[in-house]
Amino acid sequence: MTDHPSPRRTARNSGYLLCIDCEKLHRISQEGQHCDRCGARLHSRIPNSMNLSWASLLAGILLFLPANLLPIMTFKSFGQGEPSTILGGILHLLEQDMLMIGLVVLIASIVVPVLKIIALTILLCTVQFRLQTNLRQKTMMFRVVEWIGRWSMLDIFVIGILVALVQLGNIAHIEGNSGATAFAIVVLLTMFSAIAFDTRLIWDNGMPEADLPPENTDQKDER
């Protein structure tokens, strides 16, 4: 099992396509028709995958700035208190010696979104510039990104819970601010970007575009 991109038989260059929803194999001539098992529209590759994925990712990167610069919530006690940003909230936790909880919030709110943006950029560049190295590692990276991205919603849920709970008029009072909206949209956009991305495009690099001639497909595959 070697990793070098020798022409292998894929569904596409053998005249088939796989329904992405129910994983039934169809003839490639059925492109654009509906799957007879699940009713979803059949496509050999997700249409406009690169455009949608790039667009969501770039919009996410842009909104990452207001998400971190604008305050996400304000804690007021007896009329005193200032709005705090994501980073401010984490520093506040660290000052109070809540190291573990500060780390959890730091990972969920800053480390994961940044790593996710970097990983998606690497994946999109791989396809865009037809890079052919470490394809298996990149597929693995996508699986991690897809799984871990949703945990960034953690801070949003914390804000929701605190706002609902700490409503004691003048004594103590927490309200949400617009940075939370920006941050929620960042998480949403990076999730959309991962969904729009078609992992099969990574492996299309170095693949012959046209159908293999029939005598070629019967050759013995050395593995």
Binding site: I101, W151, V158, G160, V163, L165, A180
Partner: protein, 216 residues
């Protein structure tokens, strides 16, 4: 891992959903995963009694959903004043505070999506188990599959734990029945997503439909 041969008739072929490699299907034992030789994605596997397990879990989940949403998760007491919170209120208070979009996302991810997924799962498993007609099987399967990853109750639970730690020095907190129900609900939902085997269920739907046509 099962070794996979490369040549065969179209009926026995399948393709890897992650890298599009064309693969000849091989038989596998329960507990044995069939893995793509090129990108190592899990192609298909067998879950014993998958439908029956999903039916039991979805019923349990639908029952647990009620206490998790009507009993308070946390109560806070300061200077004789008390405030308790259910999941829905996290969304409501943010909406009243002007953050409508964030409120909508919390409502979707922590209430609507988990409930909808449980209903879809109950519909799929009961239809296949009792061999009902199941006009909406396709739609239920597609909705469940596309909503995977958008139900975020476990993240909500972690948020509750962080809120407890943040508030514990400022005020007295009481953990409500809702939090225990939420914990149990998350266990049930996680188990059901482990036992949900799309490849196998679509195959069962194929069989289900063939039997229906044969009866007519």
């Amino acid at each position: 891992m099962v070794n996979i041969a490369m040549h065969g008739t179209p009926e026995h072929l399948t393709a890897c959903h992650e890298c599009d490699l064309l693969i000849e299907q091989v038989a596998n034992q329960p507990g044995e995963d069939v893995i793509c030789p090129r990108c190592h994605a899990r192609l298909y596997y067998t879950t014993p009694n998958s439908i029956e397990r999903l039916l039991a879990l979805s019923v349990a989940g639908l029952i647990l959903f009620i206490p998790a949403n009507i009993f308070p998760i946390l109560s806070l007491r300061v200077f004789g004043q008390s405030q308790s919170e259910i999941i829905l209120q996290s969304a409501m208070s943010l909406y009243e505070g002007g953050l409508a979009l964030v409120a909508l996302l919390i409502l979707l991810f922590a209430v609507v999506v988990p409930l909808f997924q449980l209903i879809a799962l109950f519909y799929i498993s009961s239809t296949l188990h009792y061999r009902w007609e199941g006009r909406l099987l396709r739609q239920a399967m597609l909705s469940y599959q596309h909503l995977r990853g958008w139900g975020m109750l476990e993240i909500f639970l972690l948020g509750v734990l962080i809120s407890i730690i943040k508030l514990k020095d400022i005020a007295d907190l009481d953990i409500g029945l809702g939090l225990y129900s939420l914990g149990a609900l998350i266990v049930v939902i996680t188990l059901s997503s482990i036992f949900f085997n799309p490849h196998q269920i679509w195959h069962e739907i194929d069989l289900h439909r063939k039997q229906r046509y044969a009866d007519d």
